[in-house]
Assembly symmetry: D2
């Protein structure tokens, strides 16, 4: 009965197979004192490697309506990637444009030693011709160089607490061993690649910038006044492995992480994301409010537990008179708000102010106390990195995908005919600050 | 130029019309000292009523894939309602089933005097035959009895701060006068009606219950230990107008509301929602995680600024070892978790534990200080009610719609063939506690 | 057992109700010689009227992605209509624009006497403000004036051959009595109203015209050379009740119809539809080819049995060298094809030539020989009219909806940035022939 | 100006590149007598090979709602394939199950010599674990072994008549050279792989069989009475390269093809497809009628020009009394129709009779008279094969995808609760004839 709890049993039809059985058998021989005590799970760490054929399968699905992303792939198959439908044609695009973002997501770009070597080198297999998008789907592929399935096999026999192991079994009645594990993190490669395309198009179209950074690690909260959203630059965020734009707090965060890591534990945090130069009018009034689309996008990232737009939960502590954003006309004769508690979105529609949102990321569930051997400790560190710092480019990617999707929706509906000059401004402003993100990243 | 800021100007093509012009003219005669001072907006309250033809139009859109809801309608047209596609056939359904939920949403069901009289009596116009659903779309219609457009016309000439007025103009270049105002609240009638259908089917299918309540008003936070999610009943929530299941805190909340209201201001709060007896296996692993779908659904409700599932933002203050939910096997031999920081969802998929989530609702933007006459003060109170207490049934409705949609998705994919008895349990458990919600509400 | 075949029995749970039972009982008393002979169904015509509560419910669903139409309603409820999402804002639109198309669809506009009096007067309930579209959903409602359920009740007790009666029962296990009957025809009101909006926008945007006409009645085939697709006008089509642009053949068709009608039988035919001035580049390369979208749209119209684009089935009789459309450059320096066997679409994408397609419409299943009383004979005539002549505006409407939906898709993806002047021309050409369709219809 | 017609020019921004320019230059030197004569295109065949970097990119998109297929890939990239979402879990599935269908689609399985060697060996990269589907997306990949881009480069410089070359340029303003050419045929690999999964699940679930065959080649029409749809077997269809189940007509067809091929011309034909043991109740009443979904699916296959369900266009030659399908009760007490002019679908919903439909496939546009060298003649033959014989498994695949998608829709909506035993039968009948398709194909 205990095994029912702790094991991801193969589907009954195959359970009589020799290997499946021997797997269970060998397990019980290693676990004579099997019980339901909380400390039980530690015992699994000395299990022999799972047979090779038990290795990973992946997951994939679709996001977006006009700019539509389908990701696929897994940690240990041939590779991961995405198919991006609906890309505007004749836009300059190269593998380098994607690689710069993929490098930001790569676990080993942190100073932490990472046991798995993946270069995450992407290839564009379709949809780009002589450096230009063709309008047909772009297929981005990242081959797996180091598909070391046995690294993870040990800990995946038991249902790991607060992972997807148990729920995948409940849902499908069958589970690929690593399906709920690290594959999740590697699945985000497809998101980041698609997000890189979206970010580039948004920047080219309207100078729209999407920037995310770490604003909290455990109970260490970056004071709001230390970051100026009007001038925040990518290079400030990328200047340290904590991805916190304030150097002093970045050091504190890194120290906090180190302390916890030495205990074999993990901590979570908050990622703040801003959008600058977002065209006005994105989002729609009822179900597809812009904040609703953003909430779905960010809550679909592994380990996220909360989402806030503008004033968020803290806004409930204000009265209406304190919370309202007063209008004024700025020096360029544009309608603006003096404050931005709305977070750049009112009534579900962007108003041109900076969109700002926050995402809570729980402490990674994979902690060293589960697995005592050295190798696992390293793995743990990596997973931790993902949950917090590596989430930064994934958050940016999902936000960019939502914005481009909504921009295309608004363009199709709102721009077929000429604008109302009294009330509207073009989605694409004639001029905006050009950003050289490649330079920013070449530090 | 100031008028550009403050007025929702008609589309230029029609601006030469006599009435349009006189409207602007009369406005400027009432506003000799037009400026950009913060107190400016107050001045509009003595404006003459807008011509009748300026009255409202509404918005509508669709939500869900398998169980698909399209809402339509407005405050001042013939009525509001929804079309619900994909309803399972041969389920008992009556207008009374919907009415009980619509009554909960109705503004005048609070003790506060409400200037507008709407009974919100619904009619099922299609899709139900002799008290049974037919499987074809259900059209629910709620006629408007008291379409008093002039009540709101005064304040709608200026862009009200933190409303949708400005953004609708930015998006569409044209706006129906009340489109961004109270129509939003009335649009939720369609959601509540569809949610009532979903709740009934979920209850009949698997005894699944969706319950929401007010857990915070301004800075008054209901202590978590005062509500037992295992036993919480609808009648406890409905026992007071604050919709707080703890009677003592309910009185405190009502007092806090009264205090603020007397100042002509407004306050927001937090609605907590739980799902009991949710079938395991709902939601999917990548973009359509159950928490992502819920986040979108709840962030599409007007005035919401934040969403949390399980431990939420507070979870970032825990370490991984503190946050993880340990598995055990309960007395019925089912896999359970001892704690539920995951909030009933792991890896995007429901695990059968109670799903619990929180939604931040900002203080309503419509405050009495904008409009000085008595009538508007009353209106303000009502809108306030909506933002907090009336949001309760809307939150429940959206959650129920998401769950049924995901249940149908899981049923189609996962139940075409027999289950894996070792790992899965039926979506529909053989027996569950029957709930008589009609009785519960007849207090 | 025979009753199992012939009756639409209520759901078993309600079958014990008194009325349900008496209905069955009274039926068997009228049918002492119940058998399975082919002539059996005739006997039902003397049945007493079905109890009123057995009357209709309706069906509705959605079509389109960017320009999205949801229809609802039934013959005998309060009315029928549609909700149209995604409409471009600030376009002039009035109820008169829709009414002109709804009048074309109305059964009693034919010379044939029709027992049911419906004016099909539409109301725009949302989404239009002072004669301009607002961008929010347009709700079009057509109230039912003459909901005479008893007209149809007699024949609906048995499964009528080649109707939807049996399949609706098979699908849902419950059926609203008229659900598969005339409600289908009345459902098309929503399509025609939405199509009128689409046609107007297409005409305003690019001078795109959608015209359909009857090209075959039974075995009477209008010779292709008698219609010039380059110059065909709406008034030619509307000049006779057969909706055949050639006056001589129109008279032959009307005579053929009369002959068959006198025998109490029905005949079908073919509707040809053309699109002139279709922007180039609509449709996409793989699954959403323009001809695939058109095929779905037209095969969703009741009674259609076949679809052809360009050369169609006859094209299989040509060799490749005979079938290929040769390119040339016309006097305006545009790439054209000398022939148009492709039907204006190549590789799933429009090429700017006239799109031409044909739809086969089966003879209406409701024939007088089933029902012997005079009233039914009249009904039969009307249904016949629908299947052929009334299908003409429905075909146009569905084609227009597809084209606008695809235009918006192409605009969002292809027009965000500037065109490639060497290969592309603007979707919206600077000038085109203005059409005064109101004048054309005022005959 | 002529070059504007005949050349697929690179996007203007890159046209100043050296290679782009030299390409044009070299072209004009080879074409001194450039004119608009019909015979012009032949001249291109002696062009030097296009630079390697001009080679292909591919297209991909999605089909289906519940069972959702996204195809990607091209002739000359790394490979082609598909991602299949929503697959029921725990179904036995192997690469062999897919390979048997892919082999049927492979051009070189015909007796005709084919210059390109592709084994079309598929790999399942995700979604299957130890021979069982996991419920997560299945990624099927078919590597390209022989990516000989230069084979096609010559003829692709000009707009080939009745190909997608011109329209892709019109749509996107940029084109990957082979995008509109043979890639289309290779794209269907993804469809066939997904269709193989759908066919297997349908067969396992309800014994549903999908069979297609060639019923017409040019003007040679297989008499209807020579094929018995009740007993037709796959091995009869696969017994000859014409895929005509009647051996005598198969020989006539092959002879007809040979005659035309020797002239360097091509011919088209008709593919008939039947579905046996289709569950009743699939499809929905309004826009998503089963015949509408099938029409879209089949009209999305390259080269299709027409679609018929049941009586099709010929049905317009019957009167209503001749066309109606009379009901009876068969020996198993099931409601049946004596005739099947409805083609197994009434009112948009399947009635359990054999679904039969026909698809017109135009003569392939690539004919030898365009290209005079030997190599091209061979290519031509292959393409021809595709259009007719190779279309057979593609037609089956698309039909199977539609049916499974609709089955899942019906299961989710109609089977959550128990059936109405009086009117419905289970979607999955208790027993049906088991089919060993592997055996059938091993001839």
């Amino acid at each position: 009965m205990a095994s029912l709890l702790l094991l991801s049993k193969p589907f009954s039809r195959t359970s009589s197979s020799k290997e499946g059985f021997s797997c269970l058998e060998s397990l019980s021989s290693y676990l004579p004192n099997l019980s339901l005590s909380p400390s039980l799970r530690v015992k699994f760490s000395t299990m022999p490697p799972t047979p090779k054929k038990l290795q990973v399968r992946a997951a994939g699905s679709s996001f977006g309506t006009h700019f539509r992303v389908t990701t696929y792939g897994e940690s240990h198959g041939g590779g991961v990637g995405c198919v991006i439908d609906g890309v505007p044609p004749r836009r300059p695009l190269s593998e380098a444009n994607l690689q710069v973002e993929l490098n930001r997501r790569r676990p080993d770009q942190s100073q932490v030693t990472f046991p798995r070597k993946e270069t995450d080198t992407c290839k564009i297999l379709s949809g780009v011709y002589e450096g230009m998008t063709t309008g047909t789907p772009i297929h981005v592929f990242v081959p797996n160089i180091d598909p070391r399935g046995h690294d993870y096999s040990e800990m995946l026999v038991a249902y790991r607490p607060s992972h997807a192991d148990a729920t995948y079994d409940m849902k499908y009645g069958i589970r690929s061993v690593q399906g709920g594990g690290r594959s999740s993190a590697r699945e985000t490669i497809g998101r980041v690649a698609a997000g890189a395309v979206a970010k580039k198009i948004l920047r080219d179209f309207s100078g729209t910038e999407v920037l995310a950074y770490v604003s909290q690690v455990h109970n260490l909260v970056l004071p709001v006044e230390l970051v100026d959203h009007d001038t925040l630059r990518l290079d400030q965020i990328e200047s340290n492995i904590a991805r916190c734009p304030d150097p002093e707090y970045a050091q504190k965060m890194i120290a906090a992480i180190d302390t916890v890591r030495e205990r074999g534990d993990s901590i979570g945090g908050v990622v703040t994301c801003i959008v600058r130069n977002c065209p006005r009018g994105l989002g729609s009034p009822v179900f597809d409010k812009l904040e609703a689309e953003l909430a779905k996008a960010l809550m679909s990232i592994p380990s996220t537990k909360g989402f806030e737009i503008g004033s968020g939960f803290a806004g409930t502590l204000l009265t209406g008179s304190e919370h309202n954003d007063e209008f004024f006309i700025d020096e360029h004769n544009r309608i603006r708000t003096r404050t931005n508690r709305s977070g750049g979105i009112q009534g579900g529609v962007s108003n041109g102010e900076i969109i700002h949102m926050r995402v809570a990321i729980k402490p990674t569930a994979t902690i060293a106390s589960i697995h005592t051997d050295v190798n696992q400790k390293k793995f743990n560190i990596v997973t931790y990195s993902y949950s917090r710092m590596l989430a930064v480019p994934v958050v940016e990617a999902m936000v960019a995908i939502v914005l481009l999707d909504q921009l295309m929706a608004q363009y199709a509906q709102g721009n077929l005919f000429s604008l109302n000059q009294d009330l509207q401004e073009p989605l694409k402003l004639p001029k905006f600050v050009e950003i050289d993100e490649t330079a920013a990243l070449s530090l």
